[in-house]
Every structure is written in C-alpha cells, then in structure tokens.
C-alpha cells in the first residue's frame, strides 16, 4: 500500500488522470483469495468491459469500488486522488452507481421509492434527512429522468415486484443513471432480457458516455456485446487480471481463451 501511495498518481504523466483507477486490490474471504493484486483504470467517457468466468472476482471488484466490500490491500483513485470508499454512500457521493445482477430492487415498493431509496428528496432541503419526504418533487423528477431515458412504465404507483423483467431492469438502470455523475457499473445488465430490451440497454450504454460524460464498467459474458460497446476489455481469472484486450471481432477468440485460461498474457 505504501508503495502505491508513493507512486505518482497518473500512470502516464502529461495526460489527465483516469477517472477511476484501482491499484493492487486484494481481498480475502476467509481462506479464499477473491482478489489478488488487481489493477484497472478507466478513462473519462470510456466503456470498460470486465470479463471472466464465474468466480473470477468481477463482482468482488465492483463491490469494492461501490463500497460494499472493503479491500484488504490496494487503493482506489478517483481523478488521480486517493479515495476512501467505506460505504455505498461514499461511492454514491463520488458519483459512482451500480446496477447489480439481481437488480437489488425493493419489490414491495413503488417506482419512485425504488429510484430514491437512500437518496430521498426532503423539504425543507437544508434539513436533509430530518425533513419531510418531498413526494411531489420526487415523482416529478422521477418522471423527468425516466423520460430522458425513454422509459415508459404503465404505472408509477404499483410495486416493482409486479413488473416484467424488462421494466424492472429499466427501473434499476434508471436509478443508477439518475445518480451516477462519474462512473456507472453494470453487472450483466442484459442477462434477463429479451432481444428488443437488450438492444435498448446496449444503445443506452453507447449513448451515456457521449450524452452525460459518464464512464462505464460493463460486466458481460456476451462477447458480441463487449465488442460492440466496449473501448477496452479486462479479463479476470481466479481473482487476478490475466489480460487486457481491445475488443474487436478479431480479438474475440483471444478474449475467450483468456477467460477459460487456455492462454495467459504476461501481466503489464
């Protein structure tokens, strides 16, 4: 850790520092080494594909970035500055949001509650958490945000547990996009979706960096999707990074062999 701190923050001098950089991340769950000296960096407006088999450590890595897990060793840098992310609220304050594989929605609650839980608007604003919930403002803003994402839901008040897979996905993505100002992390966002809905998600991923200048980390098992939307791909295996590839139709085979461990890159 001390060496990581001593090193100059931007990897290449003269360039703007990456918007998000993880250096030397390690995490143990009991005897299991979930992350072993993992380093990744994400530039502003970039879409990074995070690839790897189940249990490769992808979910642990993103949960460390979002403050759900704390790293045993290693450091996270935001805009070149070391960031101390201790909780999901810290990550959120830094503009980092995630859509988890299981969506992490509150099935009993309505759309507006789901969008705002943990972020609710209150009035008067300066009382923050002590103020009343500003339900009207939340509903108006939720409508505006969903509209800007071109999401149409049949009803705002019915609980999201009643909605279809695609609609639930839309709510989860809308929640993350609504609050992400720097980095949006998507964990297999198309896993439960039909063809048309998958298309919409991919279009959104392609559009967000351009429209809102948000950088994206995309976890996916679908190589076609990675090739289509990602600027670079990092392959993880058994808790470590085994390769970094610019995803194109030509490198698809290379990515797959890295994932299954048939081929290893020399690190860095």
């Amino acid at each position: 850790m001390s060496e990581a701190l001593a090193a100059p923050a931007p990897a290449e001098s003269g360039r703007t520092p990456p918007i998000l950089e993880v250096r030397g991340a390690s995490k143990l769950f009991g005897p299991v080494r979930a992350l072993n000296d993992v380093s990744i960096s994400l530039d502003e407006g970039q879409v990074l594909g995070l690839l790897g088999d189940n249990g490769a450590g992808k979910s642990t890595l993103i949960k460390a970035i979002t403050g759900v897990h704390r790293l045993d060793a290693g450091k996270i840098y935001i805009d070149g500055e070391p960031a101390d992310i201790r909780s999901p609220n810290d990550a959120r304050a830094l503009g980092i949001e995630a859509v988890y594989q299981d969506l992490a929605l509150f099935d009993n609650l309505g759309v507006v509650s789901n969008l705002y839980l943990g972020n609710e608007l209150t009035k008067p604003r300066r009382l923050r958490a002590l103020g009343w919930l500003d339900r009207k403002a939340m509903e108006t803003e939720a409508r505006r945000k969903l509209e800007s994402l071109q999401v149409h839901l049949p009803s705002f008040n019915s609980s999201v547990g009643l909605m279809s897979g695609g609609q639930r996905q839309a709510v989860a993505v809308a929640r993350a996009v609504a609050f992400a100002t720097r980095v949006l992390i998507l964990d297999e966002p198309t896993a439960a979706l039909g063809v048309r809905e998958t298309r919409n998600v991919l279009d959104t991923i392609a559009e967000l960096p351009r429209r809102y200048n948000i950088s994206i980390i995309l976890i996916s098992h679908n190589m076609d999707h990675v090739v289509e939307v990602c600027d670079k791909a990092v392959v993880m295996r058994q808790g470590g990074v085994v390769g970094q590839v610019v995803p194109t139709a030509e490198t698809m085979e290379e990515m797959v062999s890295l994932i299954v461990g048939a081929k290893t890159h020399k690190k860095e």
Partner: protein, 346 residues
C-alpha cells in the same frame, strides 16, 4: 430505455387494470376491517343494546388504547422482517416499575411515568443489541427476553401486588380522565399511532424500515444503515410498550407480576389481521391499529352476546388465518399478473 416503444398490444392497459384491482384488494383490507367492525357492533348492539352504552364504549376504547400503542411499535419491527415477542413482558416490567416508583419510593408522578417509559426503551435497546450486534434472529432474541424480562418482574415483585390505594390519586385519575368524552389514554394511543404512521410514510428513516423488510440485500447495496434503523425500531417498540405499561398501571390501579402476560401474541395477531405482512416490507400502522381495535371489540362483544370464551379464541384464530390467506391470494394473483404482463411485453 427498455420498453421504449409501447407495443400495440393491450398489455399496459391490462396491467393497469390489474394493478388497480390489486390496489383495490389492499384497500379492501382496510375496508374489510371497517366493515367487520361495523357489522360486529351493529349485531351486538341489536342483541344487547347496552353494548353501545357510554361506559361500555369507554371500556373498549381504554382496552384498545394499550393494544394500539403496542401494535404501532410491533408494526415498525415487523416491517423490517423482525418480530418483538417481549412486548407483554416489557409492559409488565414497566407497569410494575411505575407502580413501585409511585407507591414505594413516592416519586412525583411525571418522574415515575418517565422512568416507566425509559424502562421500556432500555428493554427495546437490549432486544435491538441482541439482534443487530449479536446477530441473533429476532424471533429467538425476543423469545429469550420475553422470559428474561418477565423473570425480572417476578423477582422484583416476589409475589406482591400493588393496589390502587398505594398509588397517588392524581395518577389514577389520569387513567380514567376524559376530554370531550374521550379517555385520555385513548387520545395518547391515537396520537402515538399517528406519529408512528407519519414517521413511516413521510420520513427517510421511516421508508428505510420498509426497504429493510422488502429486501435486506438491496437495502445494504443502497447504503441504508441497517444496524441503526433496526436498533431504532426495537427501541421504539420497547418505548411504546413501556408507555403501554404506564397506561396499564394508571388504568387498572392494581399491578402484579403477571401484568401483560401473553399479550405479545394478541398484538402480533392484531398487526397481522391489520394487513402488515409478517415477512416485512408492507403494511401500515393505520391497518394495525384497526386490527387492534377489531380484536378488542371482539373480546368485548362476544361475552356480551353470551358466547362461550372458547369461541372468542377460535374466532381470533380464524381471522388470522383468513388474513394470511388473503395475503396469499393477493401474492398469487400478483405473480400471475406479473407473468401475464411479462409475456405480453416480450
């Protein structure tokens, strides 16, 4: 983003219709409670006109007051997927404590009342600590404290009882005093229930309790401080039980170590009948309070109809099963509706 262009099929409308029907069903819980209350009162009054006499109504309102208080606290806890089985014992401990402070230590009434409430808060804090810090499942933790707190009362009382003559007149008067015909105790219960209801519906930390019960994992990912919120819910349940104990002492005047014995299940029953999902995440204090009122009215109506004690219990049991069956039907229909909507959208 997804489902951008609405399909030409009638799926959205159909789903709207379903959700409306479902909302109707949820509203039907409140409506059903009010209807059951009305029918029960009407039939009982028809057969026994004295049932609606001033004194009888006041008795019901007084009895319901304590149930409503405890049901409000229980609602907060059950919303988080927890349960508090110690409320009866906490009430007993607080009632006996308050009565002892007044009779033996001759403390001023406000101080004794405050101490009674604080006893409840402390008991709640113990429950909360066992569950959040100790990681003990709520059912087990509060089952343990049910016996623990009751044991403390028995030890403290040692078989003695405190009777009305030992307590100051002003305290006992407070137990029966009325304002515009309404007993004070009932007003206190109503005010507390409204306060809890507003807190749950209109405050961030109140919404967090629903979130914790709806999906603990999602709540964690959303950064909701689970430990603090759960602790708060159990302390609040304890505090309201403590207040219930104070009201119990003021109302009955006579307190022994068995005060509130077995009350916990009546309160859980009231909350469940009132539409609070036993697995958390849904329900309102308003429903729980109506449930408490309904069970109190049943307890008072059946004897005045000359119906056997046994049936009283059986009817409460049938109501609980009916309420849970209704929840189940709603859940099944909900799932069916969601499936239907899914197949249409895809």
């Amino acid at each position: 983003m997804t489902t951008t262009t609405r399909p030409p099929s009638a799926a959205p409308e159909r789903q709207d219709q379903w959700t409306q029907r479902l909302r109707g069903l949820f509203g039907a819980r409140i409506l059903g409670l009010v209807l059951a209350l009305a029918i029960l009162i009407a039939v009982t009054t028809l057969l026994n006109p004295r049932f609606l006499s001033g004194q009888s109504v006041r008795d019901i309102l007084l009895a319901a007051a304590i149930s409503v208080l405890l049901a409000s606290g229980m609602t907060m806890v059950i919303l988080t997927r927890g349960i508090d089985l110690s409320v009866g014992s906490v009430l007993g401990l607080s009632a006996f404590g308050t009565a002892t402070f007044l009779s033996e230590y001759e403390l001023a009434v406000p101080l004794a009342v405050l101490l009674g409430v604080v006893i409840g808060s402390l008991c709640g804090a113990i429950n909360g600590a066992l569950i959040t810090v100790g990681g003990v499942p709520p059912l087990v933790a509060t089952l343990g404290t049910l016996y623990l707190f009751r044991g403390i009362v028995y030890f403290w009382a040692g078989g003695s009882r405190i009777s009305a003559g030992d307590m100051p007149r002003s305290f006992l008067d407070f137990g029966t005093a009325r304002i515009l015909g309404f007993p004070y105790l009932t007003l206190i219960a109503v005010v507390m229930a409204i306060a809890v209801g507003v807190y749950l519906a209109r405050y961030r930390s109140g919404r967090d309790l629903y979130a914790l019960g709806s999906s603990p994992e999602a709540a964690r990912l959303a950064g909701i401080p689970a430990t603090r919120r759960l602790m708060g819910a159990y302390i609040m349940a304890g505090t309201l039980s403590g207040l219930g104990g104070v009201l119990y002492a003021a109302r009955y005047g006579t307190v022994d170590a068995s005060a509130g014995n077995g009350l916990e299940l009546d309160i859980v029953a009231a909350v469940v009948v009132g539409g609070v999902a036993i697995f958390g995440g849904s329900g309102t204090v308003f429903g729980a309070a109506l449930g408490a009122l309904l069970l109190t009215v049943i307890n008072n109506a059946l004897p005045s109809l000359g119906i056997d004690q046994f049936w009283q219990r059986a009817i409460v049991g049938a109501l609980i099963i009916g309420a849970i069956a209704l929840d189940r039907i709603v859940a099944v229909r909900t799932a069916a509706a969601a499936r239907k909507a899914t197949t249409h959208v895809h």
